[in-house]
């Protein structure tokens, strides 16, 4: 127990990220199932109240984006990046632990709002955030959202932002500085490349949302008027700031999954990634363009025809590098010897579903067309094809691919295939009919709809699909837990992968590599035209390897942040100061902690 609380080992932190994020993924999924159950019937549904429903969809979005998908990617960053680049750990192991604890505590803080009602004198148990994951001003101003709900949201997101920023800097430094000899930039595995791009997006986009949240906090706590029209502020400013973060965030969510797919396809088709450099550079282009499209979320807010044209144009442009990636993946499969493992199925599923999400995105890029679709279920369909069909299927591909490396145990392939097919059927049944609900006039974020809209049947199909996804996820949970009870040991390289993580035992020893390998090609474990496969590493380290001991200070420092947030929430200044003191003392002791332990 103590060793887990104080650990600075990137592999243990990766596992902690995985289980925590997976737990939040289940919570977010449960919220989605209640939403879908309510919408199975029109005109009042199953009786979920408007207030509860608004909390559920707000927390579903917030949880899935910040507490499930980003940290599930982070689980793989943590576990795999040092292994893929041939390093012993990340550049700042204690900062890495700090990121995890801040993420955990921020997630718990946000979710505590579900039971914190009585503490704030509310007449209901739950005071969860209820203004949408996008928190549009001026609905989120104190005037229109007087309760603690939005405070939980804006403080929770600030805490989580710290975790993301710390991790972002950590991984950029790690990837740039900790590469094994010979691991040149254009020899980095594609997953590492996409991670690097993602982290640049994180460190540039999160400051924007942080600024927006701080301004919102000032408006709500100290009566400033940054976003309040009566005071000369502008609610549209919030939309610009939020989407300047929010659109790069979409690529923060999808690029790691694209990286995973770019690892899985070559391994299981026994062919190098087709157009490696093009895949890498298209990722870079996507990241750059991702910064120039934010206002396509605001076509209905009346920006004027010039701005609408510009953002329609940039948004269409981003389809090009995305399409290039898809063609290169198909090129990778073409001419290969494809083994249909669960991991490969999920990767192919990713491509097939992401195409649908990408194409429906083009109808949003066409600004006038989007005036009919924005804020309807058509957009809900689009984001779920991108974030579920894209990110989540990609993450599942990664879980089946790397689980043996992370735990030393193989997942069941037959259960995996049940999981895959149930997920595919479920997601298409859930999300495809949403296109029609939207086209027939069903807005999103409504707790009930009129039976006369003619969308009841489509909603019922969506509900059945959502519960199939739930069932599929249970199969996956069973598969994960089975590896504990009926372990099947994994060899070093169960899939015949080409990258460095497959050169070492599963699970890897605490020091990762007995000897830091020297890299001569992009696929060190494969025979290529010019290079023989890397020679196996010695079984035992030829010289003793120093492994740093754990530290309490990342955890202690992290606890100061939610304490500060609780103080702000309850308007008790001494608690804020106490939290700040914990953070400052924690950082001080951390900085002066003896190197050797």
């Amino acid at each position: 127990m103590k060793t887990w609380l104080t650990t600075t080992d990137h592999k243990r932190i990766g596992l902690l990220y995985f289980w925590t994020a997976f737990g939040f993924f289940l919570i977010g999924g449960l919220e989605a199932l209640i939403i879908r159950a309510q919408l199975a019937r029109p005109d009042g549904g199953l009786g979920v109240s408007a207030e509860t429903f608004n909390q559920l969809f707000t927390m579903h979005g917030t949880t899935m984006v910040f507490l499930a998908l980003m940290p599930l990617s982070a689980a793989f960053f943590n576990f795999m990046i040092p292994l893929q680049i041939g390093a012993r750990d990340v550049a700042f192991p204690r900062l890495n632990a700090f990121s995890y604890w801040v993420f955990l505590l921020g997630g718990l803080f946000l979710n505590a709002s579900f039971i914190a009602g009585p503490l704030f004198g509310a007449d209901r148990l739950s005071v969860a955030p209820d203004a949408g994951w996008f928190g549009y001003e001026n609905l989120t101003s104190r005037q229109f959202s007087p309760g603690p709900n939005v405070d939980f949201w804006l403080l929770g997101l600030q805490i989580l932002g710290i975790a993301s920023l710390a991790a972002g800097f950590n991984f950029i430094v790690t990837i740039l500085n900790m590469r094994a000899p010979g691991m040149r930039m254009l020899r980095l595995p594609p997953f590492t490349w996409m991670t690097l791009i993602t982290q640049f997006l994180v460190i540039t986009a999160f400051p924007v949302i942080t600024v927006a949240l701080v301004l919102l906090m000032f408006d709500r706590f100290f009566g400033t008027h940054f976003f309040v029209p009566q005071g000369g502020g502008d609610p549209i400013l919030w939309q610009h700031l939020f989407w300047m973060f929010g659109h790069p965030e979409v690529y923060i969510l999808i690029l790691p999954a694209m990286g995973i797919v770019s690892e899985v396809l070559p391994t299981f088709s026994k062919k190098p990634l087709f157009g490696y450099t093009v895949v890498v550079y298209s990722g870079v282009v996507i990241a750059f363009l991702g910064w120039s499209v934010w206002s396509h979320h605001m076509f209905s807010s009346g920006l004027g025809p010039i701005a609408d044209s510009v953002f329609a144009g940039t948004t269409m442009l981003i389809a090009i590098p995305t399409g290039v990636k898809i063609f290169n993946w198909i090129g990778t499969l073409w001419g290969g010897q494809i083994r249909f493992t669960t991991s490969l199925l999920f990767a192919v599923g990713f491509i097939a579903m992401f195409i649908i999400g990408g194409l429906s995105g083009v109808s949003h890029a066409s600004a006038p067309s989007d005036l009919q679709q924005t804020d309807t279920y058509y957009v809900v369909a689009h984001i779920h094809y991108v974030l579920f069909g894209g990110t989540i299927l990609g993450l599942f591909a990664g879980m089946y691919y790397w689980w043996p490396k992370m735990t030393g145990r193989l997942l069941s392939e037959s259960l995996g295939k049940v999981h895959f097919w149930l997920t595919m059927i479920g997601m298409n049944l859930a999300f495809f009919p949403m296109h029609f609900s939207g086209l027939l006039g069903m807005p999103r974020r409504i707790y009930t709809y009129s039976s006369e809209l003619g969308v009841t049947g489509f909603n019922q199909a969506s509900t059945i699909g959502a519960f199939l996804i739930g069932l599929a996820t249970l199969v996956f949970v069973w598969n994960l837990l089975r590896t504990r009870w009926q372990p099947i040991s994994a060899p070093h390289n169960p899939w015949g992968g080409a990258t460095l993580e497959w050169a070492i035992p599963s699970p890897p020893p605490v020091y990762n590599f007995t000897v830091i390998p020297t890299v001569e090609s992009r696929m060190p474990l494969w025979q290529t035209e010019r290079h023989a496969p890397m020679r196996p590493l010695p079984e035992r380290p030829p010289a003793p390897i120093h492994v740093p001991g754990g530290s309490w200070w990342p955890l202690i420092t992290a606890t100061g942040l939610p304490v500060m947030a609780i103080g702000a929430l309850s308007h008790v200044i001494p608690v804020v100061l106490a939290g700040a003191a914990v953070v400052i003392v924690g950082i001080y002791r951390w900085a002066y902690e003896p190197f050797e332990m």
Binding site: V278, G302, V324, I330, G335, F340
Partner: protein, 329 residues
């Protein structure tokens, strides 16, 4: 592949069979909504073509190149420059065919109505709509009446949070923002009743912020205008409505509602001609005695977050009040 068929099939049934669905974007009934639908169809057919091509390639790849025993090791192909260039240029070319009509439509639907358009100011409230006709000197609530084949310009703003005015068959949505005025302009093709609702999340009863648009022939519209211009109906001596008028005078209703000559409340909708409306509570319920009964006694139970507090009226007073409200044609 089955997905494609499903998509086409469903879209076609939706287009053909969905003609009477009140909020469908697929049955445009104005120049504005027809432009948007035309653009959507353009994108849709391109997307369908790309979908069939790319998913087809993917399918061929995984069927043709599945691992079979005895097959030679795959050739380690690293890439192909000509292919890379062509699959960068091809999507770019397709996008030109989408971008050009997109830009054209952006400018043509920017909200400028021609001279002589009927101008209506739309004001969003949590969770109901107010319409002012400055040239006609009348107001309407939740139900917008407009003449057919006449250019209409809506100048829209909000009294509180952001709302979005959306009547799919008449046009795309545009947000109502406090301190700003956003415009849409359109010309409805055919008379009828069109449904819409708020499309921007605006708090507890966002789902209940609905609206109706009645597109009417010039004569019917003129009759409606005259009706709305008239002073409120005076109840006959000794009628239940007259008793109801007395109840209204001494009730808390007057703090929030206006009836011309009786009260000047501005919190809720004007009730001067409430009896002429088909719906109440943000076009959420039909305007009949039973609904009014429940609504007056406990509005928040029917519409979460509604500001109207539950009233405690004796059954006689309530019946009289409802008779009075219904008499306000």
């Amino acid at each position: 592949m089955p997905l494609v068929l499903l998509a086409v099939l469903l879209l076609l049934t939706a287009c053909g069979g969905g003609a009477d669905l009140p909020q469908s974007t697929l049955v445009p009934r104005s120049d504005f909504s027809a432009d948007l639908f035309g653009l959507y169809k353009n994108v849709f057919w391109w997307a369908l073509g790309v979908f069939i091509l790319v998913e087809g390639l993917l399918l061929v790849a995984i069927v043709r190149f599945r691992a079979r025993p005895g097959r030679a090791e795959p050739k380690p192909v690293h890439g192909h420059t000509v292919l890379e260039i062509s699959w960068t240029l091809a999507p770019a070319l397709i996008l030109v065919f989408i971008a050009v009509p997109t830009m054209r439509t952006i400018f043509s639907t920017a909200g400028h109505a021609p001279e002589g358009a009927l101008r209506v100011e739309v004001i969003g409230h949590q969770w109901w709509w107010e319409y002012r006709y400055p040239t006609l000197n009348i107001s309407a609530y939740n139900e917008l009446h407009i003449p057919v084949r006449t250019p209409i310009q809506l100048d829209m703003t909000s009294a509180d949070v952001i709302h979005s005015f959306w009547v799919p068959r008449l046009g795309g949505k545009r947000d109502l923002i406090q301190g700003r005025t956003n415009r849409i302009a359109f010309r409805a093709d055919s008379t009828g009743e069109y449904w819409g609702q708020c499309a921007e999340f605006c708090g507890a009863s966002h789902a209940n912020m609905r609206l109706r648009v009645f597109v009417q022939s010039d004569s019917v519209f003129q009759r409606w205008v005259d009706q709305q211009r008239a002073s409120p109906a005076t109840p006959a001596k000794g009628s239940p409505a007259e008793a109801g008028q007395q109840v209204y005078r001494r009730s808390p209703c007057i703090a929030c509602h206006t009836i011309a000559g009786l009260s000047q409340g501005r919190v809720g909708p004007d009730l001067t001609h409430v009896g002429s409306r088909f719906t109440i509570a943000g076009a959420l319920f039909p305007n009949n005695a039973e609904i009014l009964h429940r609504w007056i006694m406990n509005a928040p139970a029917m519409k979460p977050g509604a500001l109207m507090t539950p009233q405690s009226l004796s059954p006689q007073d309530l019946d009289a009040l409802i008779a009075y409200l219904q008499s306000l044609k």
